[in-house]
Amino acid sequence: MGRIIEEIYVWRLPVRVYHWVNAICTVMLLLTGMYIAAPVINPPLGEAVWYNGMSWWRYLHFATAFVFIANFLFRMYWALFGDDRYARFGGFQPWSPSWWGKPFREQVESYLFLRRDEPNYVGHNPVAALAHFIFIFCGSTFMILSGLAMYGENNPGGFSESMFGWMIPLFGGSYALHFAHHLLAWIFPIYLIMHLYAVFRHDVVDRTSVTSSIITGYKHKVEEEPN
């Protein structure tokens, strides 16, 4: 194991807070959402007025969703206006062909074992940035828009329905939108597996303490092992 030669402060506090709020919300939303789709707890005996089995799960889902949305909006603010070189959108330019050039190719080759050395990045590497854009940015945006459209369904003419109700005809009806919301919820567990695997692997291979960096904020540069 090499000696630590440099400590770099990568993830500032707002980013770390966002990360953990987002992680907790996503897991909560997945669990409550799956329960709402398939309520498994057996009905209790007695009168309906005594219980709120289903409404409680839905309440949890909606409350968590609003925390999730606020957190997402905060992260968007931080990405656009935050004074934070590792958390800004700045470097991520998928519309420009040069972004897909050498650094991206090298990272992909490294993941595919086509090259020996591991390119190292202090912030996100280009493949990670792309994955976050697809799964976290696009995925969350879709889940938020479709979720708010469905949330507004029971109050026609209300804020949610007026602002986001256009999602329903766009997807060809309420049922189709529910289906899309349910199907695309699955991208989050997929992302979770890939994310955890990639983080742990980088920790083992590059030894930059990327895992603990999301708690402490610091990544480490270590001395190259003698070959």
Binding site: P43, G53, M54, S55, F113, R116, G173, Y175, W186, R201
Partner: protein
């Protein structure tokens, strides 16, 4: 009967004196909360405004919309066809047939150019020039386009005319298309349902007759008055849903107790209609009231979103037994397997690299 019969003509023909007719107009102004100075206007409208002429076409359909329509209780069907509209052409209900009837249609289209209502039941086949639906010696596609050209507005009755229904369910062999995909330049009211509730149908007609305009429509072109809320939100079993008390099979105790049918595939939470408010057959019952889950017949493409007795639709292009959860589980499994394989390769490579460097040393 004259073609341009007004209300005053009808009253006169029924033996009602002018004195009584003016009394009726005054009373109407009182009911509508209008000032006495408006009475002459009402008299004038009653004397000059003809009943709304309606041409009712039947395309690819099962006539369940007509069956529903004739069972309306508020307003009754008699009230509608004798007092509000002049149902000049309906190839199912008319006594005349053949060329005589087709001539009536053309005459109405000329006499009331741009003023008549076109009611369409069913949709048109668009494949192979529409040969899969021939009415009166011509394809229904042509008849529909020809009749729609001079219509003031179009009412699309039922799921067929609004969205396509079973005719354009996958794989849609005849290329059946709803009215809105064929006619683009006319105001269209979608009145979905298979069939729509009779009071909803007559309500739309009564609105047009009373106010001379189409009712306020929502994003899907449906009258807001009837399609604004979901069945779920007005369902009398909603309390059982919120309590988490669900029917789990059709022969259990919960079924007898009338608990929520959500787990039996009820599409009430995603279906916009008035079934849980107006109900059917003059308020006798509605599907959920009779113990059957809603199948969502007033929603687009409801046939392709089956099975009816399950919450989650099959994803047909991946074969039966594939739904969103199955796809999700397989994808998550694949991601996990991929990560494990990648980890294994990493470990092997690393071990090999370590061995290489040891050999060098």
């Amino acid at each position: 009967m004259h073609n341009n019969q007004t209300f005053a003509d009808i009253f006169r023909a029924s033996g009602i004196s002018r004195r009584d007719f003016l009394k009726f107009c005054s009373l109407t102004s009182v009911y509508l909360g209008l000032s006495p100075s408006m009475v002459p206007k009402i008299v004038q409208a009653m004397e000059t405004k003809p009943r709304t002429p309606v041409i009712w076409l039947h395309g690819l359909e099962c006539t369940c919309c007509s069956e529903s329509f004739i069972r309306s209780s508020h307003p009754t069907i008699e009230d509608i066809i004798f007092n509000m509209i002049s149902l000049d052409y309906d190839d199912v209900l008319s006594a005349a047939a053949g060329h005589q009837l087709e001539d009536v249609r053309r005459k109405i289209m000329q006499d009331y150019k741009g003023k008549y209502i076109l009611a369409v039941e069913g949709n048109a086949s668009t494949k192979d020039d529409g040969v899969y639906c021939m009415v009166g010696g011509d394809s229904f596609l042509n008849t529909l386009k020809e009749t729609a050209a001079d219509a003031a507005a179009i009412i699309a009755w039922g799921a067929c005319a609004s969205y396509g229904c079973v005719q354009n369910a996958d794989p849609n062999p005849t290329g059946a298309a709803p009215v809105s995909e064929i006619i683009k330049d006319k105001p269209i009211v979608n009145v979905p349902g298979c069939p729509p509730i009779s009071e909803v149908m007559t309500g739309v007609v009564a609105h047009f007759h009373t106010f001379g305009t189409l009712p306020e429509l929502d994003r899907m072109g449906r009258p807001k008055a009837f399609y604004n809320t979901r069945i779920h939100d007005k369902c009398y079993r909603r309390a059982f849903y919120d309590a988490g008390m669900f029917v789990r099979s059709f022969d259990d105790e919960a079924t007898r107790k009338g608990w929520c049918l959500y787990k039996m595939g009820c599409k009430g939470p995603t279906t916009y209609n008035s079934c849980s408010k107006i109900q059917w057959n003059g308020g006798v019952s509605f599907p959920i009231g009779s113990g059957h889950p809603c199948i969502g017949c007033s929603e687009p493409n409801f046939w392709d979103k089956g099975p009816f007795y399950e919450r989650l639709a099959e994803v047909s292009f991946l074969g039966t037994d594939s739904n969103a959860d199955r796809i999700g589980v397989i994808a998550v499994g694949a991601a996990a397997a991929g990560a494990a394989a990648h980890a294994a390769v990493t470990a092997v490579k690393k071990a090999k690299a370590g061995k290489d460097s040891e050999d060098k040393a």
